[in-house]
């Protein structure tokens, strides 16, 4: 056997070595991705030109000429050549908390922080265990206690006076959490072997998905009081939460069904062959896998529900957008609606960005987790 000629830079053939370096680095990447062909070069130039025109003007309006003080006269003097962030400075508490009594704003603030913290805690797969339900029960109880008061020396504030961000978040959380079990039931019903159950589930899902949320909200606010028995009287907020839940359940059912369908048939057959009942098989074998598969879709629905809550203003519930309209009701400041909407949009955007980043992180983690 021949000894290797020299321990030089060229390794003997057949021995594993690292791949050759990719040519060029950042510069080559820029060239290839932005100026790869005449048409892509043209598009790049056009976009750059557009940005060059837009950016200075936008920055000018947003920042350089803007007024940041809650100074109405200074804002008026701008004559709309710059943003009047004074509106936000003046009205942000109204936008964030609606008609909640001014002196008690620490309560909705704390309640919101509790919900957000619980949400963040629930995001990590390590937290997905039975105890999480208890944590949520405590968080929700704390939320209601803080918001409504009437005990522990807190003044009583009826839900009709709740508003702004805490309302947006609690509606989202309740609609999502309550629609999940309903959606699972509907999805299983739709795949059931019992014809009546299947028909009812399918009918419900298709019916609700064929109706806009706004209609459901009107029905919930004006028809539920007539339909529900007197003992089950819900306040306006409760009715809207119920309406959103029933609406969301139909979509949740389809999300869950996609997961159920993605599982190989052999899983159910293996469970049946072992003697598990249909219910045991669903609970222990099918659902855990199906739900894990659809977590990214679930986060997507969370995102759209969060945005959909803005529709509740049509039935006089003052969520974040509704509270903004309250703020714009002030004749002095009403001309600065653009700044107001930008402020609210920034809040929605920040939340949605966080959720979609989270969804991507989770997808990566779950898909690598499955190959553990």
């Amino acid at each position: 056997m021949a000894a290797p000629s020299a321990a030089g830079p060229s390794a003997p053939a057949g021995v594993a070595r690292p791949p050759p370096p990719r040519p060029g680095g950042a510069r080559a990447w820029l060239r290839a991705s932005l100026f790869g062909s005449p048409s892509s070069a043209a598009a790049t130039l056009l976009l750059l030109a557009g940005l060059a025109w837009l950016l200075p003007r936008a920055l000018d309006w947003l920042l350089f000429r803007a007024v940041f003080r809650a100074d109405y006269e200074a804002c008026r003097a701008l004559e709309y050549t710059g943003a009047c962030w004074g509106f936000v400075a003046e009205k942000h508490r109204l936008v964030l908390f609606g008609r909640y009594p001014w002196g008690e704003h620490w309560r909705p603030l704390l309640a919101t922080l509790i919900l957000v913290a619980t949400l963040a805690l629930s995001g990590h797969p390590r937290a997905w265990r039975r105890g999480l339900l208890a944590v949520w029960a405590v968080a929700l109880a704390a939320f209601v206690l803080l918001m409504r008061g009437g005990v522990l020396g807190l003044s009583r504030v009826e839900s009709g006076s709740w508003g702004g961000l805490p309302l947006t978040i609690i509606l989202t959380v309740v609609a999502m959490a309550a629609s999940l079990p309903l959606g699972i039931g509907l999805a299983l019903g739709r795949r059931s072997r019992l014809p009546l159950l299947r028909a009812v589930s399918t009918l419900y899902i298709e019916l609700v998905r064929g109706v806009p949320l706004i209609t459901v909200l009107f029905v919930a606010s004006f028809l539920f009081p007539l339909l529900l028995p007197a003992g089950l009287r819900l306040d306006a907020l409760g009715r809207v939460a119920l309406g959103m839940t029933l609406f969301q359940a139909a979509y949740m059912a389809e999300v869950v069904r996609a997961g159920l369908q993605a599982l190989p048939r052999g899983q159910g057959e293996a469970a049946a062959a072992l003697g598990l009942s249909t219910w045991q098989a669903q609970r222990r074998v099918i659902l855990p896998q199906a739900l894990l598969l659809v977590i990214p879709n679930f986060v997507n629905s969370l995102l759209s529900t969060f945005l959909d809550t803005s529709l509740v203003t049509v039935v006089s519930i003052y969520d974040l957008t509704g509270a903004l309209r309250l703020a714009l009701g002030d004749p002095l400041w009403r001309n600065f609606f653009l700044e107001g909407y930008l402020f609210v949009a920034a809040i929605y955007f920040t939340c949605c960005l966080a959720m979609s980043r989270y969804s991507r992180w989770l997808e990566g983690r779950l898909s690598s987790g499955r190959r553990r």
Binding site: Q267, A272, A273, L274, Q280
Partner: protein, 246 residues
Amino acid sequence: MAEPIIQLTGVNKWFGSFHVLRDVDLSVAAGERIVVCGPSGSGKSTLIRCINGLEEHQEGRIVVDGVELTDELGSVDRVRREVGMVFQQWNLFPHLTALENLTLAPTQVLKLPRAEAEERAREQLRRVHIERHADKYPGQLSGGEQQRVAIARALCMQPRIMLFDEPTSALDPEMVKEVLDAMLELAQGGMTMLVVTHEMGFARSVADRVVFMDQGRIVEQKAPREFFGNPEHERTRDFLAKVLPR
């Protein structure tokens, strides 16, 4: 002969208008090892899936360990208590570890306490020589290991009968032997086995009887010596010519 543990009489089944099982009569004694073979699509899987009620038959009678499979609630459950099944694609539950795969049915169906179920599971894993992988997830195991876990999982329910549907045909060649060895050990322990397989070596050395199916019918059933040495029917000879190495 003693009362057969599996008795099929005049079984017929259709998928839509397709007649997949035709007048099947089969009788299996306790402790017997039966290999079922035949060309693809001849109804082998359907036949053994009817025996534990994964498929429903439309005509005829299937009696397993004294229980007839009927529409009546509970008859399927009672039959499944006595019958274990191993699939071609092993069908382990990927979200559970090997050990959890084994303890699921004993804790859920038999309501065994966890400790007892785990003890039973470890014993079965030992039996198929895979004990050290108890805490791994199916995705971390090779095909042969997964199939042995699947066998152990079925055995945890202490069935009197084991059904195998092509347990080795999805495996790489070097893993076939470890699974066949596990099945051989099981056969030597006196288990009643119904095995759909193309492993003619296994049929020759383990089976008491080989059942040959074609187009939904049982064409012939014989002891392996006779089956391989002296096949009666044209179809059987054709089939053997294809699957046996010359």
